[in-house]
Structures are given as structure tokens and as C-alpha cells.
Amino acid sequence: MRRFLVKRLLYCIPVLFGISLLTFLLFRVVGGDPVDRLAGKYARAEQKEQLREQLGFNLPLWPRPELLLAGDLGNFADNQLFHHLFDTFTFRFGRSQQYHRRISAMILSGLVPSLSLTLPAFLLGLFLQTALALLSASRRGSRFDRLLTLACLVGMSFPFLALIIFGQSLLAGRFGWFPILGFPEKFGLGVLTHTALPVLLGLVAGLGGGVRFYRTILIEEAESDYVRTARAKGLKESRVLFGHVLKNAMIPIITRTVVVIPFLFLGSLLLERFFSIPGLGYMLVDAVNSSDWPVINALTFVGAVFYLGAVVLTDVLYALVDPRVSLK
């Protein structure tokens, strides 16, 4: 297992390098020049050039091989790509060009509100989706199964944005059952109150797709020979479902759920925006729209690290739930 982990983690380095290089290509080479925005609306050419110099955007984008051949290592390394890679891999993300704030502080302060929203929605969603899928799969073809399938299809067809606007206007605006928006300054019971409606809306939005997915997997497992054998041996239905069907369906369930975990940290764009929750959901979009290059880079890299971590975790969990899988 240890050897496997070391090997997988070593594999992550070139992947992270590739991601970092791709981010650089997309936003520094192809994307717009942030200097025009940063210099302000009255800036003339010379002020823009001064700022470009200060930010290091006047440096060559790439290392120049002729400098290496000439043995001028100092100037060879003095280019935007090398600076970018060095800062990224040493987690020195610096400050946001737009908000002048430390990016690490921005990420940390947005993490709690984002997780307060996404984590309960994820946990509850998983619970409800698998529970309903189990019920539906165990009563396949019944009126309940047909009704649930129909409800899932309706839920999947309803746009998330419309659901948010409708839910917020009706349940918070008209009935006043929930706060319309906001997030408490201090972590406490207020978090529950302020995130209840967005969590419930997130839950409803994800229910249809999740139930359909898990139902399909569980039905496939429930029709297997070993399940028929278990039932023939007279095992209780709950034992069959939880001890056999669910356990053997774990591989696709893990694949679907663990990979989602990194995205929980990055928050929910629409819910955070509509409910005025100061999370990370909108940070990346905002950074892209304003060419806030350090923030784009930090969020992409941190997201990639989380994602690769989740992929490794998925492999480990495969081995834990399925004895046929071994980590070599």
C-alpha cells in the first residue's frame, strides 16, 4: 500500500506540472492583458508600461535557449514561465491584483462559508439519493418506483437557476420561512438558519440525477446471481440490501462521490451568489472576468491538488471495500 501511495503521489507531480503549464498558456499567453484594467481608466501608454514592468509582465514569456547555451543562467531563468512555476510549486500565490488581499487569506475565509453550504448538501444528498434508490430498486416496477422515476425526471428537467429564484421568492420572500440571504459573521446556529434554504434547494436539485444513477447501479447488482443465492438461502431483505447489494455497488458509488469532494471546497457559484454567501464559488469566475491572474492560478492549482488527492483516495477506498482490488 505504501509503495502504491508513493508511486501515485509521484505520478501527481507531472500532472500538476502539466496543469500549471496549461493555466499559464491559457491565461498569460492567450488571455487578456490585465494591465489595461489594473492601470485605471485614465492611464496612458507610459503608465501601463510602468505597471507592466512592476508586475514582471515585461519579462519574456519563455526561457530563451540561446541564453542557456551562452551560459547565462541568471537571465535564462528570468522569465514569466519559470517565475510562475516556482511560485506555484512553492505555494507562494501572493496577493489578488483586484482585491489586494493575500490569496491564502481569501481562500481560507471563503472555505468555511462554502463548506457550510456544500458539505451538508452533499452528505444529505448522498443519504437521500442512496436511500431512495435502494427503496426504488427493491420495489422495482411498483407504483412507488414509477412515481419516483417520474419525480426524478421532472426534477432533472427543472433548471437549477429557476429553482433558486422560485424557492427564494416563495419560501423566503413571500412566506418568510427562511432568511432571504446572508451569512452570519460568527460561526454558530445562525449558519444553520442562513444556509437551510440554499442547502435544501441544492439537495432538491441534485436528487433526481443521483437517485436515477444509484437506482440503475443497485438494480444491476440486485439482479446478480449472488443476490438470488442470498435470497434463496433465506437472508432477510435488509441484510441482502445493505450487506450484499450496497457493498458490491460501492465501487461506482465511490467513483461518483469521492471525486465530487474537491469541488465541495470550491463552493457553489449560483447558491452563493443568490444567497450572498461569502464563499469560494464565485471567486474563480470573478478572477477570470477580471484577469486576476494570481487568483486564477492559485484556485486552479489548489483545485488540482485536491482533485488528484481525491483520485488517490478513490483507489485506496476501492481496495478497502472490494477484496478483489489490490494496490500494487
Binding site: D36, R37, G40, Y42, E53, S276
Partner: protein
């Protein structure tokens, strides 16, 4: 099995907790102690370092914390400059090359750990000089220097250039920034600069305490220390934060002069009373219009604009307040925005830049009335020229022959344009900043209007950075843009056509006309507006004739306010006007009680 059981229990409890919220959620919220103003911000604050403020959201908050030498009279119109931190208006030398400025004694910074013993100290002339040097210091990356001081103050550009090499020397002397005494200073100029006094009413010129800058370092953006009526209480990076009264705030009183109708509207009832009236300002960052609107209707915000999608719910076809809102005593205020929106032609482009009939044809082909009705719910006016109403140099009687909707004449001119071009016109590309649905709908409207006269255009929707790139490199032919004035003088619009300001400067359409440039150079050194006016009018005429902009609209703002918010009058240029406003707590409580009863 045990894991699933435990997981099931946790989730059931959690779900029950969320579903029980309606049973314990108190809609009226906790009772506020003291008089509280509840306001919304439509975007996040970028930072509260006054020298670097360039966005209206940050300025809305910073304006309550920081103050400038001058401000605009809260109630009087046309806008009139009045002293704020200054004792009087500046004393200008006869040649216009020196301004002597005196500040009022007895003004104190708010208490802050940056000061010895945490006690805010008295404001002096040195604090202004220090702030202006900070703006010039390249290490601070202030976006405001180019617009305010560049090229004008003796020795300041040299100080800026020297700061490129490393930390700037703030103890050194600058010829053009002279401290004459504890409360007096002089600015020496390279050339007359009548607009400087307007900039001295602009937030980036607000004084900062050197102690605070040195104490907080780069974190100063998060720790504003000003002399204004309010101070920050808590972390403004959260989506909800407060400002509280600055207990060091001096004795200031509510204005006694207003424009016609102010007394009748009750806006002079508090004349001579000590300000501020409000103890705390609670700001909420609400980026989406829908929740902002719901929060206003729920009484969580004291004032609000009207989102496009909710317009018909709030305003009747006759442009009056809808019955339900009127019954709640909500008031509607309409006022002109100091802005103009347009499609600019890149005058360097070989097709549109050299073809006047084409630009005029396109202008005549655009149905502004329908555009304003459809996209702004009627909240706009058909423009005359680049100078909007509410500016002293605006000419209501002026007629622009190219802003009427006349597709027939447009087609005739288009034929003439094709002749000039030597054949059919190629497909024209229009750069549009923004990729959202509303922007695309607006762009599609433009495209269809042009298609109706037989002109093919392609709309290129892009992010703001890409759009600015296109502007800088001049790669576009036509572009959609707007301009909002920073001070109430037409120069703040006309400089957008001044030749030397061409791309990558603010003259994005690269307009260049020798007569215009000559008039501009003559006008901007004249100290009195009356003397500048003839040149302004001629410059505007040149712009109208040459049509470098296809003018879209002047905006009209609609604001709704709850009956408990008093002394509210929109002011397009003054910063920090909440100190004049008052909240009638009794009326607000009555609203909440009624709401509670209703639910």
C-alpha cells in the same frame, strides 16, 4: 451496517434541523440598538486604501470613512463645490500656477491601534502631502495618479519616476507640494489646472495617517483609518459588515441651503442640526438583483434600485409607482446619471474611420426609443451629444441630426458610404464587453437594426480583459462602451476625444481633429467655466458632426426608498452622504410589526 446506521442518524438529524428552520426563524430579526441604516453593495469591495480606490463600490463605503478637502453641496443643484476638510475654497494665484490650501483645525483621525495609545491624532497639512506622494509612488500601484496629478504638479512626476528604483523617500521635498504651516499647504503647478479643485473633492486625494500606513503595511487596504463620520467595525471582506460612528468626529451641521422644492420635500427640516444622525451603517454585499429586490421589499434595505425583471411590478406604464408600493408609502426618486453610453467607431480603422457617411448612416439606423424602452424599461433619454444633462454645459435646445431614427435616410447615406468605399462594405465587427444574456440581447438588437438598412455586422462578445486588449491594440472596428463622469465639468467627457489621449489612453475611438485639440488645449487652462463654455460647445459640435460615437442613451436612475429613510437626496458626485440621512425608527418598527402581523 453500523456505518450506514450512524450515517443515516446523522443525516436524519441534519435534515430535521434544516426543515425546522421555519419554526424558529424570526423574520423581523434582532432589534437594532440605535439608529441603523441598511444599505446594499452590488459587488465586493476591492479595498479601502483611498489612494487606490477606483470602483464605485469601494468608494461608497470609503466615502463614509475618509474625507476630502472639498465636497459638493448635498442639496444644491447645479452641483457646487464647498469646503469639507478645508477652511475655504483654494486661493489661486493670478497666473493659475499655485493653489494655497488651508485646512480646518480640530479635525481628528478616528481612534486606531496605529496611533500611540490608540488615540486618533489631529489632521495636519502634512497628511495631505503624504497621501498625494503615496498616490505618485509606483510601489503603491495607484490607478489614480494618471488622471489626477500626472504632468501637473512640479516635481511629482520625478518623485514617481524615482520610486521605480525602490522604496520612495517620503521625507524628501517636492517642489510642487509645500507645507506652509500646520494647517496650510501650497500646490505649485507646471501649467494652469482648473480641474484640480474637483479632484480635491475626489476620494483618492483624501488624507491618510502615515502612522496607519506604516503600522498596517500592505494590509492597509483592510484597515481604513480616516477622519470621516464613521469607522469600520469588523471585517468588510465578509458579505455583511458595519460601520459605526467615529466618536472623534467634529461638529458638523446639516445644510441650510437647497434647491427649489427641497423645503417642500422636507429636506431642509433638519437644517443646522448636528450630523451624523445615524449610529451604524449595515452593509450587505448582494450581487444579484433578485435577492436585493426581495430584501428591499422585506424592509431589510432602506433604499433600492429597480431590477429590470421587476420593473413592471414596481412602476406603472405611466412611469409612476405601482399601487402596492405606494400604499406602503415607498417613494420613487428619478434622477439623471452623469453618464453616456455609446458604440464607438475606431477612427484608425480604414473602413469606419474614414467613412463619415457610414458612421452617420449607422447612427440614423439605430432606433434609440425602442432600445431605451426594451432594454432600460424607459429609464433613459435620447442623447444629444457626449455631454449628459445635469451638466452646466448641457444644451437642452441643441439638436443632433444623427440621433433620430430614420432608416430611409440611413439607406441613402449607406449607398453614399459604399461609393466612398469603392464597392460593397465588408462585414463589420463589433466588440462588446460582456457575455451575459442581457448584453447579447442588446448586441442582437444592434445587429438587427443595422441589417435592416443592409449592413452586415458581427457581434463579438468578450470578457472585459479581452475587450480592453482589443481596445489597446485597436483590433476592433466598433465597440460598445460607456463613460461615467468623475466631476461635474464637461471636460470629463470631452477629454475622451482629445488626440493625444488616443489608445491605449482613454480616447478609445482614436478620434483626432486639429480644431478640437486646439480648442481643448485652450479651454482646459481657463479658470472660469463661463470662459470655457464656448469652446466646450464647439468641441461638442465637432463630435456631433464627425460622429465618432453612435450615441445610445443618457441613463436615468430610479431609486425607491422606504418611508423611514429621511433626508435622502441622490448626489452623483459627493462622497459619504449617509451622514446627512436619518432613519425614523418608529416608522421602521411599525413596518416590522405590520409584517409580523401579516405572517
Amino acid at each position: 451496517m453500523k456505518f450506514w446506521a450512524a450515517y443515516g442518524v446523522v443525516c436524519t438529524v441534519l435534515l430535521a434541523a434544516y426543515l425546522s428552520v421555519p419554526f424558529f426563524y424570526d423574520r423581523s430579526g434582532p432589534p437594532a440598538a440605535g439608529s441603523v441604516r441598511r444599505a446594499a453593495l452590488a459587488s465586493k469591495i476591492r479595498g479601502l486604501d483611498p489612494q487606490d480606490i477606483g470602483d464605485t463600490t469601494s468608494a461608497a463605503v470609503a466615502g463614509q470613512i475618509f474625507e476630502t478637502l472639498y465636497t459638493y453641496s448635498y442639496l444644491e443643484r447645479p452641483y457646487r463645490l464647498i469646503p469639507l476638510l478645508a477652511a475655504d475654497l483654494p486661493e489661486v494665484s493670478p497666473d493659475g500656477l499655485a493653489l494655497t490650501l488651508t485646512i480646518r483645525p480640530g479635525i481628528f483621525f478616528c481612534d486606531d491601534p496605529a496611533f500611540p495609545g490608540g488615540q486618533g491624532r489631529e489632521l495636519t497639512a502634512t497628511d495631505f502631502i503624504y497621501a498625494w506622494m503615496r498616490m505618485a509612488d509606483l510601489n503603491n500601484r495607484s490607478t489614480n495618479y494618471a488622471g489626477i496629478f500626472q504632468g501637473y504638479v512640479k516635481g511629482l512626476d520625478e518623485f514617481r519616476a524615482a520610486s521605480a528604483a525602490g522604496p520612495a523617500d517620503y521625507d524628501g521635498e517636492i517642489e510642487g507640494l509645500e507645507v506652509l504651516g500646520r494647517y496650510t499647504m501650497r500646490i505649485k503647478l507646471n501649467k494652469p489646472y482648473p480641474f484640480l479643485v474637483y479632484w480635491l473633492a475626489h476620494l483618492p486625494t483624501a488624507p491618510v495617517a502615515r502612522e496607519a500606513v506604516e503600522f498596517y503595511g500592505p494590509e492597509l487596504v483592510n484597515h481604513p483609518v480616516g477622519t470621516g463620520p464613521y469607522r469600520l467595525a469588523g471585517d468588510f471582506r465578509s458579505n455583511r459588515f458595519s460601520l459605526e460612528r467615529n466618536k472623534n468626529y467634529r461638529l458638523e451641521t446639516y445644510p441650510a441651503r437647497g434647491e427649489d422644492g427641497d423645503a417642500r420635500a422636507g429636506l431642509l427640516a433638519d437644517a443646522g442640526r448636528r450630523i451624523p444622525f445615524i449610529d451604524r451603517i449595515e452593509w450587505s454585499v448582494i450581487e444579484e438583483p433578485q435577492p436585493r429586490w426581495l430584501a428591499f421589499l422585506d424592509g431589510q434595505l432602506d433604499a433600492s434600485g429597480i431590477p429590470r425583471d421587476n420593473f413592471s411590478e414596481a412602476i406603472t406604464p405611466g412611469r409612476e409607482l405601482a399601487g402596492e408600493l405606494r400604499e406602503r408609502d415607498i417613494r420613487l426618486l428619478k434622477f439623471d446619471d452623469p453618464s453616456v453610453f455609446y458604440y464607438g467607431f475606431n477612427m484608425n480603422d480604414p473602413v469606419v474611420g474614414s467613412n463619415l457617411p457610414l458612421r452617420r448612416a449607422m447612427s440614423l439606423a439605430f432606433d434609440r426609443e425602442t432600445y431605451i424602452e426594451r432594454f432600460l424599461n424607459g429609464r433613459g433619454r435620447i442623447p444629444v451629444g457626449p455631454i449628459p444633462p445635469s451638466f452646466p454645459s448641457f444644451r437642452p435646445e441643441k439638436e443632433n441630426p444623427w440621433v433620430r431614427y430614420d432608416p430611409e435616410e440611413a439607406r441613402r447615406l449607406l449607398a453614399q458610404a459604399e461609393e466612398e468605399c469603392g464597392g460593397p462594405l465588408p462585414l463589420l465587427r463589433v466588440a462588446v464587453p460582456g457575455t451575459d444574456t442581457t448584453t447579447r440581447q442588446g448586441g442582437e438588437f444592434f445587429r438587427v437594426q443595422m441589417e435592416r438598412i443592409g449592413l452586415s455586422v458581427e457581434m463579438d462578445y468578450m470578457t472585459w480583459p479581452r475587450f480592453q486588449d482589443a481596445n489597446r491594440t485597436g483590433s476592433h472596428q466598433i465597440f460598445a462602451l460607456g463613460w461615467q463622469a468623475d466631476y461635474p465639468d464637461a471636460e470629463n467627457f470631452l477629454f475622451l476625444f482629445y488626440g493625444p489621449n488616443r489608445s491605449p489612453g482613454p480616447n478609445a475611438c482614436n478620434f483626432s481633429d486639429p480644431e478640437f485639440d486646439r480648442l481643448y488645449e485652450q479651454a482646459v487652462v481657463l479658470p472660469l467655466l463661463e470662459d470655457r463654455l464656448p469652446s466646450y460647445h464647439r468641441m461638442e459640435d465637432i463630435v456631433i458632426e464627425q460622429c465618432p460615437w453612435l450615441l445610445l442613451t443618457y441613463r436615468v436612475n430610479y431609486v425607491l426608498i422606504h418611508p423611514w429613510l429621511e433626508n435622502y437626496k441622490p448626489n452623483n458626485f459627493a462622497e459619504g452622504t449617509i451622514k446627512y440621512q436619518a432613519v425614523n425608527d418608529e416608522r421602521r418598527r411599525a413596518f416590522y410589526a405590520e409584517k409580523e402581523e401579516g405572517s
